[in-house]
């Protein structure tokens, strides 16, 4: 039954299990212990150097574990054309490591010849839609494979946005054939910052296109009006409210590979591993609950 449910989602060789970010400080421990982790995810840009330790260790780890390559610098949401040199570098990484999943962001980070090391927001307009769809087409054609596009963590919105984010992503998936990466922490961050209900966002998300889920920690802050602001920090454990949102998402998603992202103040391997196990337990519990609910079977039929 789970097998059948999984087939609803976009096909990939990635097992529907919990994975974690692969960090250089953990290379040795992972290779020594061979921990029972579903898979690893790396940032593509960290493996765009020519040689040395990064490729040495990733090659060994990739032989043992399934792999996801997550790009952070392609700037798919930029008004200007994609950087073809960077696209070629991404293809070199995906050709070399043959990852089960490749993903990027609904965001921009380049303007003219400057690279802004962040994921910047786009207005959801018809102009942006056409631009992003064209870029995804170009990327998928060049890489010769499907990519997943991640929902952003936003701190502000644009007056000129005319399309809701879930609708924007849904249309992109239908138009380009790309899959989606549902970052549940980003949903909590954006909903808090922009003042909407995260549950409603999850309930409206086009789950049939989801090929991967992200979970991460956020940092609470305040803006000048005293309103709560959440920062997508990736520097701590997943917040309780994000676990709750993930449970809600699982009710619709079924088993989809999930990932614990931890990029800043990276903890000891044991802590990251435990966080991944926690995500696995939440996924397993949801699977048992879902099995017991025939109404979901009916929905599928």
């Amino acid at each position: 039954m789970h097998q059948a449910k999984t087939m609803d989602h976009i096909a990939s060789g990635m097992p529907p299990r919990a994975g974690v970010s692969l960090k250089p400080q953990h290379y040795h421990e992972i290779l020594e212990k061979g921990p029972d982790v579903g898979w690893f995810e790396v940032h593509a840009e960290n493996y765009m150097g020519a040689g040395g330790a990064p490729h040495h260790y990733l090659s060994q780890i990739r032989e043992i574990y399934p792999l996801s390559v997550h790009g952070v610098g392609l700037s798919i949401g930029a008004a200007q054309p994609l950087d073809e040199d960077h696209l070629a570098r991404l293809k070199a990484v995906t050709d070399r490591y043959q990852p089960e999943l490749v993903s990027e962001h609904l965001a921009w980070s380049t303007h003219q010849d400057t690279y802004f090391p962040d994921l910047l927001p786009v207005p959801y307009s018809e102009e942006t839609f056409q631009r992003v769809a064209d870029h995804i087409d170009q990327v998928q054609e060049f890489l010769g494979r499907r990519i997943l596009l991640e929902n952003p963590a936003s701190y502000l919105a644009f007056e000129s946005s005319t399309i809701g984010e879930t609708e924007f992503l849904s249309r992109l998936a239908k138009t380009t054939g790309c899959g989606l990466l549902l970052d549940v922490n980003n949903v909590m961050v954006s909903a808090t910052n922009l003042g909407y209900a995260p549950e409603a966002y999850i309930d409206a998300f086009p789950v049939d296109h989801v090929g991967e889920v992200h979970l991460a920690g956020h940092a609470p802050d305040r803006d000048e009006t005293g309103a709560e602001v959440l920062i997508d920090a990736h520097d701590r454990q997943v917040a309780d409210c994000v676990w709750a949102l993930y449970r809600r998402a699982l009710g619709r998603l079924g088993p989809v590979p999930n990932l614990i992202e931890w990029d800043v103040d990276v903890p000891a391997w044991a802590t990251l591993f435990a966080e991944g196990q926690a995500a696995q337990r939440v996924m397993d519990e949801a699977a048992r609950t879902t099995d017991a609910e025939p109404v979901l079977e009916a929905r599928r039929a």
């Binding site: 150097g49 040395g52 008004a79 690279y115 307009s125 007056e159 009006t225």
Partner: protein, 275 residues
């Protein structure tokens, strides 16, 4: 309605210049000061960009950071960011001109004149970390060359090799600031030529003996062994070629020997040994 390109253009300008207003298209939260050039929400992006760039520089230049302290380093890195923001999504390439910047940035140049050379040395170390893999060549390869022609051979250096020629003890300063040496072991009166090389996985730093700098510089430039030895000899009268050559091979800095042009005929000789 502004075009996407216009919105991103004004967004980009305001990210790097705090006096530039955020794009008009940015929605202000209810209750926010309508006269402020930017909302606090926009400042989050400005801060994210600055912190990511400064953190990247901090990871690339740990010795510079240790030498000047965290606060001075971050202020200096911020000034550099304003002048030279990243041009590539590969942040390990960011900071190629940081050494040049430090040389002319008055607060750094006045108080820590050697900082620029340490920065260039550290940048070379990071580039070596990511350099292409190649097997170092053993000095035994020289034994396969006709002794009469050894003086005319040229070498290809390992792709990770970088030579840092400095009027300061650049390698010792780097080693002291990263804990490999103690600061009282640094002879501030000594000029050092540093060699960075990554023969396998680990990046190594070497202090070249006197004459080694001009000798290696000539080899990197593709001069033949005799010419390079002359360059070394011009720097130190007692330049000992065999010691310098053996030392270089030992570091793994030589990846290939290229026999001299075939004026003395060897039709079946391989064009390159070692690579």
């Amino acid at each position: 309605m502004p075009s996407l390109s216009q919105t991103q253009g004004s967004f980009a300008r305001a990210l790097l210049d705090p006096s530039d207003p955020a794009p008009q298209d940015v929605r202000r939260p209810a209750g926010a000061d309508a006269t402020a050039p930017q909302t606090r929400r926009f400042d989050i992006y400005r801060n994210n960009v600055a912190v990511a760039a400064i953190d990247a520089l901090g990871e690339t230049f740990p010795a510079v950071r240790a030498l000047v302290g965290e606060e001075f380093f971050r202020a200096t890195a911020r000034a550099y960011l304003t002048q030279s923001p990243p041009r590539s999504p590969l942040l390990f390439r960011y900071g190629a001109t940081f050494g040049d910047f430090l040389q002319t940035f008055p607060p750094a140049a006045r108080s820590v004149p050697y900082l620029a050379d340490v920065a260039r040395f550290e940048f070379a170390r990071l580039q070596a970390f990511h350099a292409p893999d190649a097997a170092p060549l053993s000095i035994a390869a020289l034994g396969e060359i006709d002794p009469a022609r050894v003086a005319s051979v040229t070498f290809s250096v390992h792709p990770s090799v970088s030579l840092s020629r400095s009027g300061y003890p650049v390698v010792s300063l780097w080693a002291a600031s990263t804990g490999l040496m103690t600061s009282d072991q640094v002879d501030m009166g000594r000029a050092e030529d540093g060699l960075v090389v990554r023969p396998h996985l680990q990046v190594d730093s070497h202090i070249l003996p006197p004459g080694g700098g001009p000798f290696l510089a000539a080899l990197i430039a593709g001069k033949n062994l005799a010419t390079a030895a002359e360059a070394g000899g011009a720097a130190v009268p007692d330049f000992d070629l065999s010691t310098h050559l053996a030392g270089l091979f030992e570091t793994g800095a030589i990846a290939g020997v290229l026999p001299p042009p075939a004026d003395s005929v060897q039709p079946n000789a391989a064009p390159r040994a070692g690579l």
